[in-house]
């Protein structure tokens, strides 16, 4: 008996080591993780990284190109683009992080309910099918039109469009988990539903959830930028990357830096997240590991 436990612990240890090993070999995923840390650092310490107020108007420095005093140039109101991009990381990280949190929460709850309770499965999944038939971006625009522009409404709208995907994913994992011998054994021992779900089923969902959340983070940043670009996102005076690009659109000919730098910020952040997500998927999903 003791030997068996020791062996299974050893096996668990092996699995833990090997996923980290696989992840460590993916230099691009490491790069993605480091870049993401840099972005989060930038978001937290934004006021210390620039001495310009992102909102300060100064017509005398209107539409200046990149220079040593204004790294990314200035916009049509003389505001420093570098500070605006730096402060923009706050919006992107906030939106991405909050959407990741809410979709995971709602997705896990709905996914477990649907996967664990057969009688709920049909109803919940038909509703999720319906939600998924609503085109994400268009629905987000419509929701923003109704709710009005603000950061929290952007988070609500984007969470709503990604939540069904997470719910479906978790349901799939739970459906497999419920059939497992150890779950049936736990049930035979008289464990309550809640205990089975938390102790035996939820841990299996974590790897897929982490991978999915990384991609959702990236998609939320893109969606927020698109919404703000369209004028349906966060209020126009808030420096978000999409807003900066939107205001720079009219000055593309004389001030390319107004659209170039915030755009690059979006691309690099999403690239980092997608590289990280790819690395995590290869490392956490053994099925993919065999193929690669």
């Amino acid at each position: 008996m003791d030997i068996a436990i020791e062996e299974s612990e050893q096996l668990e240890e092996d699995i833990k080591v090997s996923w980290f090993e696989v992840f460590r070999q993916k230099w691009y995923a490491i790069f993605g993780a480091l870049f993401l840390l840099l972005i989060i650092f930038t978001a937290i310490f934004a006021p210390h990284l620039t001495h310009y107020d992102p909102q300060r108007l100064d017509i005398s420095t209107r539409l200046q190109g990149p220079s040593t005093s204004h790294f990314f140039g200035t916009d049509d109101f003389g505001r420093d683009i570098f500070s605006r991009v730096i402060y923009g990381t706050r919006i992107s990280i906030l939106v991405g992080g909050a959407v990741m949190f809410f979709t995971s929460l709602a997705g896990v709850v709905l996914g477990i309910l649907a996967g664990y309770y057969k009688f709920l499965d049909n109803v919940l999944m038909r509703i999720m099918d319906g939600f998924m038939a609503l085109p994400g971006m268009v629905l987000a625009i419509a929701l923003m039109a109704v709710l009005g522009p603000s950061v929290s409404n952007v988070i609500i709208a984007i969470s709503f469009i990604f939540m069904p995907r997470t719910a479906r994913l978790i349901r799939g994992v739970v459906l497999v988990g419920v059939e497992m011998a150890y779950v049936q054994a736990a049930r035979a021992l008289g464990a309550r539903d809640l205990r089975i779900v938390i102790k035996h089923i939820l841990p299996n969902c974590i790897p897929s959830l982490i991978v999915q959340s990384t991609f959702i983070f990236a998609y939320s940043i893109l969606t927020e930028a698109s919404l703000s670009f369209l004028g349906c996102g966060v209020s126009p005076e808030i420096p978000s990357w999409g807003n900066i690009i939107n205001s720079g659109r009219l000055f593309m000919r004389e001030a390319f830096w107004m659209t170039l730098f915030p755009g690059l910020a979006i691309v690099l952040t999403c690239l980092a997240l997608n590289l990280l997500g790819d690395g995590l998927r290869d490392a956490l999903d053994p099925r993919m590991r065999e193929v690669l």
């Binding site: 609503l134 085109p135 268009v138 629905l139 698109s226 004028g231 979006i266 999403c270």
Partner: protein, 312 residues
């Protein structure tokens, strides 16, 4: 045939949920939709009039039943600003969006499938790595930003192509295409990245199958192994992803239409948002969802033609 009928019946609950969400969309407006619509200067009698006009004076379940029976009859209501029915407004704007979406899909398929196949033929070699880097880049670049850069480079700097606008198909194919090249490239690039990634991973899976080994063992040349045996099996997941990413494509199309000032459904939606023309927004969401559902129905049916083993 029996499958087809079952599949169509399964669409009813989906469309019911869609219709419900779209119906309640307007009721999410904080406060009274009628007074929000009319602005702060409206008199109470004006507000009352609009409330009756919109049917807001009736209890909510009655409103819902009325709304459902109307949309089942194809009546999406009337625009508050355009002076015509929503259906009419949508169909007037359909051509540019359709051209944009169809051409972008073609471009995406023409780039995505070969990219995925070439990447998977020699996994983890430089071609695979380069192609997959571009695929990840493709899903990381915001479509609108790519479009703006295309305009800057190809229209403003090189003066090769028009920066924005649309010429209807009736004015001549070439004239119309000239306007479409940049929007279609920026939207198609994004979409091709999604297709390439799915195509590559299913190709990798297929290449490990026994029938591939058999084909190689009988001395078939590698290009034939790929073209005759592998590619056909890769088509099912690839076609599926083309269907499911239609929603991403249509979202991208809305943004692209704004960037390139194409008078399609996307521009209609955004203008309606600015004007708070809620019936048009509702109608567009409903219309696009229905299109998405129908496209995925066709995707399911197309499996029979792609893979003779699939029988419904």
């Amino acid at each position: 045939m029996g499958y087809l009928i079952r599949r169509i019946i399964a669409l009813i609950p989906v469309m019911f949920v869609v219709a419900t969400v779209v119906f309640f969309l307007v009721h999410l407006i904080p406060g009274d939709p009628a007074s929000v619509l009319l602005g702060p200067n409206a008199t109470p009698s004006e507000v009352m009039k609009v409330r009756t006009q919109m049917g807001l004076d009736k209890p909510i379940h009655v409103q819902f039943v009325i709304w459902l029976s109307r949309i089942i009859h194809g009546d999406l209501g009337n625009s508050m600003f355009l002076g015509r029915s929503v259906t009419q407004a949508v169909f007037e704007r359909l051509e540019p969006t359709l051209v944009l979406v169809v051409l972008s899909s073609i471009v995406a398929i023409l780039i995505g499938i070969p990219a995925g196949v070439f990447a998977a033929v020699r996994p983890n070699r430089w071609l695979d790595k380069t192609l997959m880097f571009f695929a990840i880049l493709g899903v990381s670049i915001p479509t609108f930003w790519l479009g703006l850069n295309f305009i800057e480079f190809f229209s403003v700097l090189l003066r090769w192509l028009p920066a924005a606008g649309y010429a209807p198909l009736s004015s001549g194919i070439w004239g119309s295409l000239r306007y479409m090249i940049l929007p279609v490239s920026s939207l198609g690039f994004n979409q091709s990245a999604l297709i390439a990634r799915i195509c590559r991973s299913s190709m990798l899976e297929v290449m490990q199958q026994d029938y591939i080994r058999t084909a190689r063992a009988k001395g078939l040349m590698e290009p034939w192994v790929v073209l005759k045996h592998a590619l056909r099996n890769v088509m099912i997941p690839t076609v599926t992803v083309i269907g499911t990413t239609f929603a991403v494509l249509i979202g991208g199309a809305v943004v692209t239409e704004i960037v390139f000032n194409i008078p399609g459904i996307g521009l209609l939606i955004i203008n309606s948002v600015l004007r708070r023309d809620y019936p048009v927004i509702q109608g567009c969401v409903l219309f696009i969802s229905a299109a998405y559902v129908v496209i995925n129905l066709f995707v399911d049916i197309s499996y029979v033609y792609i893979d003779p083993r699939v029988k419904y």
